[in-house]
């Protein structure tokens, strides 16, 4: 029995056999294939080649249109490489004659080519080797991607272990057979982690080497509460986990049965509990969980799922589906928050990241840089706003001028729609995310120009404490309960109260039950959280009085260390709702 520690990104405990997923990138799962399988493997290689060519062709077109011909030409060259007759014949010869797996054969052949080019010595030829590397990665992705389809053919429950999972792989995990998953890389706020929460599958990320350490079929315990994976556990440990699993399940059942109860404190103060979603399909489930609306719809997942530009109709259709699930309640649509860690995997070239992507061209800056795409999205939102209480939210605003630019683009779009006689809602509420420290500092200036604020704690903490939580070396410096964060939240609430601007807290902080008394005590009345925790959050709210919450917040604000605040809040939650304390 041995234990690996990672970052808990989606709660719950799962016990079951490990399913080790075909490894990505340059680690090849199998070097050889059986003689009988040779023909099938050649076909598999050709299919992967064909798919890669199609994909490169699409990229070529897109890059030429959006970036210019010289960028398209790079893909044109990749296409010629993928179609190179020598490449195909040499790989197939290795499969047929040496019974190499297509992955291994491909890697060998391209490796040899790269070596030849590097040995030519000239600078510009070394660059060509990098292009080969890129091509190899793409082809391997297609080859291994097919292997990954095994996931869809599961017939028994397993715990999936992988180097990494893409958002679309995570989204398409067959829930009935996947008890949970663990990945070697990733962070708490990575989009895969966010999706795991949405799917209600326990998950742990950033656990380090597991794919090579664990064999398929080994029993593992995935502890999504404490961020642990226990490989080959003893009987006693399994029993302990089974018992706690049973308790957790009965609590969850009781909480979901309270969905029709209003989220209000004992002294009848309403606390709105809304849901964060990534996909329109989730909206209906949020309704079943008793959410008071959608507080954050992360629309960039429309792009992370697809290699194409999205049309106005595609945007509209997605928004319509969400509004249909909540026709009477608020649906806050956040405009595209692409860039940094959210780059569509098919088109990295369109999102030049620079040396420091978190501080680079991302989020609202990317939208303001590409007005066509931004306007397409705004048109769709304004049209969908006729169907319900739709609100527009701009992400990552850092200065008043940026906010004004975004709003002026929105006005332009309204004028266009009016001119074209397209029906839309001109009364839509417009708000902004509070994610950059400049905003709390100047909260009053911003409050005069928006209808609502929403504090995105993930980025606010990252930028305030200068820490990337997905980097295990510094993850310990990331703490939601840091006194600086509490002060910032309070600054925003005060500015909001003065200008009658409601403040929501979204982000991971509001999804953790122990922070609820604190946030309510700081004056927050709107929370937007991962859907599956909403029943738990409601339980906390219903056990709380406002004076009690305020005294908890006041006490927490007197503490100087994040660690002490955290311990204190955990203790308070344990007193309020012992069932929910971890």
């Amino acid at each position: 029995m041995h234990t690996k520690h990672g970052i808990a990104v989606s709660p719950g405990v799962a016990i079951g056999p490990a399913f080790v997923l075909g490894v990505e990138d340059f680690r090849i799962p199998h070097r050889s294939v059986s003689v009988d399988a040779v023909d099938a493997e050649v076909v598999r290689f050709r299919c992967a080649l064909e798919k890669a060519c199609e994909e490169i062709g699409d990229n070529e077109k897109l890059a030429s249109e959006q970036l210019g011909k010289q960028y398209g030409a790079i893909f044109g060259a990749h296409l010629q490489m993928a179609r190179d007759p020598k490449l195909q014949s040499e790989v197939e010869a290795l499969i047929r004659e040496k019974h190499f797996s297509p992955e291994f054969a491909l890697s060998r052949v391209l490796g040899q080519y790269a070596k030849v080019l590097l040995n030519l010595g000239d600078m510009y030829k070394a660059d060509r080797a990098i292009d080969l590397y890129d091509l190899e990665k793409r082809l391997l992705r297609h080859l291994l991607g097919e292997r990954r389809e095994e996931l869809a053919n599961l017939t028994a429950p397993v715990i999936v272990l992988a180097r990494d999972l893409t958002p679309s792989e995570t989204a398409s995990l067959p829930k009935q057979f996947v008890l949970g998953f663990a990945t070697e890389v990733g962070g708490y706020t990575s989009h895969t982690a966010i999706l795991a929460g949405a799917l209600e599958i326990p998950a742990v990320v950033a656990v380090g080497d597991i794919v090579t350490d664990v064999s398929g079929g080994d029993t593992v315990i995935l502890d999504g509460v404490n961020g642990r994976i226990i490989i080959d556990p003893d009987e006693e440990t399994i029993q302990e986990y089974r018992d706690s699993e049973k308790r957790a399940r009965s609590v969850a059942k009781r909480l979901v049965s309270q969905r029709s109860l209003t989220s209000e404190t004992i002294d009848q103060e309403r606390v709105w509990l809304m849901a964060n979603i990534e996909f329109p399909e989730e909206a209906e489930h949020c309704n079943e969980l008793g959410a008071d609306g959608i507080g954050l719809y992360r629309t960039e997942f429309l792009y992370l799922e697809s290699s194409r530009e999205q049309s106005e109709e595609e945007h509209y259709e997605a928004y319509r589906q969400v509004v249909n699930a909540f026709p009477e309640q608020p649906v806050v649509i956040r405009t595209l928050d692409l860039g940094a860690d959210k780059v569509p995997s098919q088109m990295p070239q369109l999102y030049p990241v620079g040396a420091n992507p978190e501080l680079g061209l991302r989020s609202i800056r990317l939208s303001l840089n590409d007005l066509e795409r931004f306007k397409t999205q705004l048109r769709a939102i304004l049209r969908a706003a006729l169907l319900g209480d739709v609100r527009i939210m701009f992400p990552l605003i850092s200065s008043v001028i940026e906010l004004r630019q975004a709003k002026s683009t929105l006005n332009d779009v309204m004028e266009d729609l009016a001119e074209q006689g397209v029906p839309f809602n001109s009364e839509v509420q417009v708000g902004m995310m509070v994610e950059v420290p400049s905003v709390p500092l100047l909260a009053e200036d911003f409050a005069r120009e928006v209808d609502f604020f929403s504090i995105g704690t993930n980025d606010l903490i990252q930028y305030t404490l200068a820490v990337d939580r997905s980097n295990p070396a510094v993850a310990k410096y990331y703490n939601s309960a840091d006194p600086a964060i509490l002060k910032m939240i309070r600054m925003v609430v005060e500015a909001g109260e003065k200008h009658s601007v409601p403040v929501t807290v979204c982000g991971q902080m509001s999804s953790d039950p122990k922070y609820i008394p604190l946030l309510v005590g700081l004056g927050i009345r709107h929370l937007s959280a991962t859907p599956h925790v909403i029943p738990q959050l409601k339980e906390v709210v219903r056990h709380l009085t406002i004076p009690q919450a305020e005294s908890i917040a006041a006490y927490a604000r007197k503490l100087e260390l994040a660690r002490d605040i955290d311990t204190y809040l955990r203790g308070e939650l344990n007193k309020l709702c012992p069932d929910l304390a971890k």
Binding site: Q70, G76, Q80, M81, D84, Q88, D122
Partner: protein, 115 residues
């Protein structure tokens, strides 16, 4: 990086199909070009060459000094050591080889429209 070419091998004999008029174009065509690209014959021009000759039924090679590469393979082309000013010899064998070679010469003359 050497191996047999899986695509059709060069055909030096007249094709059995086609009119007799085409037979005159069955011969080998050869022309010289000068690389006039600042960064030499890099990846993008190589891909243009491979693209241009891809569907040609015969064989095409490019020679520089003592080396010969298959123009249908971008990987082969990439191994040409051809900086600015290099003189290359293009040779094609097969139906309408002269047209093909002329097309390639035009690509070189127009600098592949990349620079």
């Amino acid at each position: 990086m050497k191996s047999s070419n899986p695509s059709k091998q060069p055909t030096h004999e007249p094709m059995s199909v086609g009119s007799s008029a085409e037979m005159t174009s069955e011969m080998t065509s050869q022309r010289e070009v000068i690389v006039n690209l600042e960064s030499g014959l890099h990846m993008v021009p190589c891909s243009r060459i491979a693209e241009h000759v891809r569907d040609f039924e015969g064989s095409v090679c490019i020679m520089v000094e003592d080396r010969t590469v298959d123009a249908k393979s971008i990987f082969d082309l990439l191994t040409l050591r051809a900086p600015m000013g290099t003189v290359l010899t293009i040779e094609a064998n097969g139906p309408n080889s002269a047209d093909l070679v002329n097309g390639l010469v035009i690509l070189f003359e127009r600098n592949f429209e990349t620079e």
